[in-house]
């Protein structure tokens, strides 16, 4: 049966730094690498478009590390142009 909890933080990553994950949709190839490593199921390819469920994301940045095109980044809240 289940041998891993889907809500456990990856050991390799630091906890939230108060930033916010953003997607550059022009760069995103819709490849599915980031949902595969997202421990909190916050990332999802909706057909072909990557979506973030911010309530679940804790900015662990693992998705940033594995993105093959550099489409993901975590920006500090005060530099983030998006509301919320």
């Amino acid at each position: 049966m289940a041998n891993r909890s889907s809500t456990r933080m990856p050991k390799t990553e630091k906890a939230s730094n108060g930033g916010r994950l953003v997607i550059d949709h022009d760069e995103c190839a819709g490849c599915g690498a980031c949902p595969a490593v997202c421990h909190s199921l916050a990332l999802r390819l909706d057909a072909l478009t990557l979506e973030i469920e911010y309530e679940l994301c804790d900015n662990c940045s693992l998705c940033v590390i594995v993105c093959p095109t550099g489409a993901l980044s975590v920006v500090e809240k005060h530099t983030c142009v998006r509301a919320g």
């Binding site: 891993r4 990856p10 190839a29 819709g30 490849c31 690498a33 490593v37 421990h39 999802r44 550099g70």
Partner: protein, 400 residues
């Protein structure tokens, strides 16, 4: 609140790639009501694959060969060391290069011809549960933004590396950074590509923790890709490494397509089944964790799943205990080999460029000295380890 419509099926298959397409077709051929759900608007698109497959004979066990999706022959493999010395081994007829999008569409077409209900642009958003067992899926139809449910006797996760079915059913967790390769690939048009040889370049500088591939795709075309270990890649993304390689080796080639993806590199799952649910293909970690290749493994995994599900559906026995037959069958067919490749992958991470130069040099001597005798990859590597003590030391934890 309006209740979702509910459809009934014997089997619902999430994902219409290689494994989902074959399994859905075979179950439909047996007379079962099968629904195959694919979230992408067009099956097989976008491609996320290097597109090297097995031989015509091997493929034809699963689908009749159609030359329209075969674009090149693979008769040899050549591996370049960091110092650009290489070892080449000819394996006439060992495989073919395919157009993966057309291949997936052909499998989906075969499934439809056998009676499966294949629906693209239908995204599964969750599982349905009843009395602690999976009993179907929740679906979002993208074309009109409506939702519906499918009530099924068995649910199959064939949804690739990110397998949400596996996550929801608590069969898999997220991949760690060390368990995934990230990859980027161009379809290049130009001169100087191999015609019937797959070329591999290794080296920590060009592809840390992974390799570069140059796969022929017919006259004047090639798939050129890079896979890297995300934690070892300190000089940019997989696409950055790909850019550097292409600029260095094929500066004049025209870039016709860019694709990217993640490939799991894990040991086999302890189990791929639960009550009323199982995983196939990369969702079940069927791909080779060392090479990343998974087309043939997915076909074989789907074949094993079909054998067990056919009996299970006939007997209406689809609990965890019965479905473990599939676990066992897969383990005996490919799981043990995958386990070894996972160990080989971990060992590969320890090699520096000098080690790789030595390994390629030794492999070249072995292959040259015994051209007709080496038929198996383990024989090559065993011989290499025996003749290079330093490498053998790094491999001491491997279980050959």
């Amino acid at each position: 609140m309006v209740a979702s419509a509910i459809e009934n099926a014997d089997a619902v298959i999430v994902g219409c790639g290689v494994a989902g397409g074959l399994l859905g077709g075979r179950l439909a051929r047996d007379g079962f009501r099968v629904i195959v759900l694919e979230k992408r608007p067009q099956i097989g698109v976008p491609v996320r694959c290097g597109e090297a497959a097995g031989s015509r004979q091997e493929i034809s066990q699963f689908i009749p060969i159609d030359e329209s999706w075969i674009v090149a022959e693979i008769n040899a493999a050549r591996m370049y060391a960091p110092n650009l010395t290489f070892v080449e081994k000819r394996f006439p007829g060992v495989g073919v290069m395919i157009n993966r999008d057309e291949f997936d569409q052909a499998l989906a077409g075969q499934a439809e011809n056998w009676g499966a209900d294949v629906r693209s642009h239908h995204e599964v958003t969750g599982l349905r549960w009843r009395d602690g067992r999976v009993c179907g899926v929740k679906v979002k139809r993208h074309t009109d933004k409506t939702t519906y449910d499918v009530d099924a006797r068995v649910t199959v996760g064939a949804d690739g590396v990110e397998s949400f079915v596996g996550r929801w059913a608590n069969l898999t967790g997220h991949l760690r950074a060390k368990e995934i390769h990230t990859a980027a690939e161009y379809l290049l048009e130009g001169e100087g590509f191999p015609t019937d040889t797959i070329e591999i370049y290794v080296g920590r500088k060009i592809s840390p923790g992974g390799y570069v591939w140059v796969f022929p795709k017919g006259d004047r075309f090639a798939n050129v890709g890079v896979g890297v270990h995300p934690k070892m890649a300190k000089n940019g993304t997989a696409r950055d490494y790909l850019h550097r390689f292409v600029e260095g080796h094929f500066p004049d080639a025209k870039k016709r397509r860019f694709i990217a993806g993640g490939v799991s590199g894990t040991k086999p799952l302890k189990t791929m089944v639960g009550d009323g649910v199982l995983l196939v293909g990369e969702a079940g970690r069927h791909n080779n964790p060392f090479s990343g290749g998974g087309i043939m493994n997915a076909l074989e995994g789907a074949e094993e799943a079909h054998k067990v599900l056919k009996i299970g559906l006939e007997r209406d026995t689809l609990d965890n205990e019965f479905l473990r037959r599939y676990d066992k069958a897969w383990h005996n067919r490919n799981g043990q080999v995958i386990h070894r490749f996972a160990l080989l992958r971990e060992f590969f991470f320890k090699l520096d460029d000098d080690d790789m130069n030595r390994v390629v040099s030794v492999l070249d001597k072995i292959v040259s000295a015994r051209p007709g005798k080496i038929t198996d990859y383990t024989e090559v590597f065993r011989a290499a380890f025996k003749t290079t003590p330093g490498v053998l030391w790094k491999a001491r934890r491997m279980l050959w």
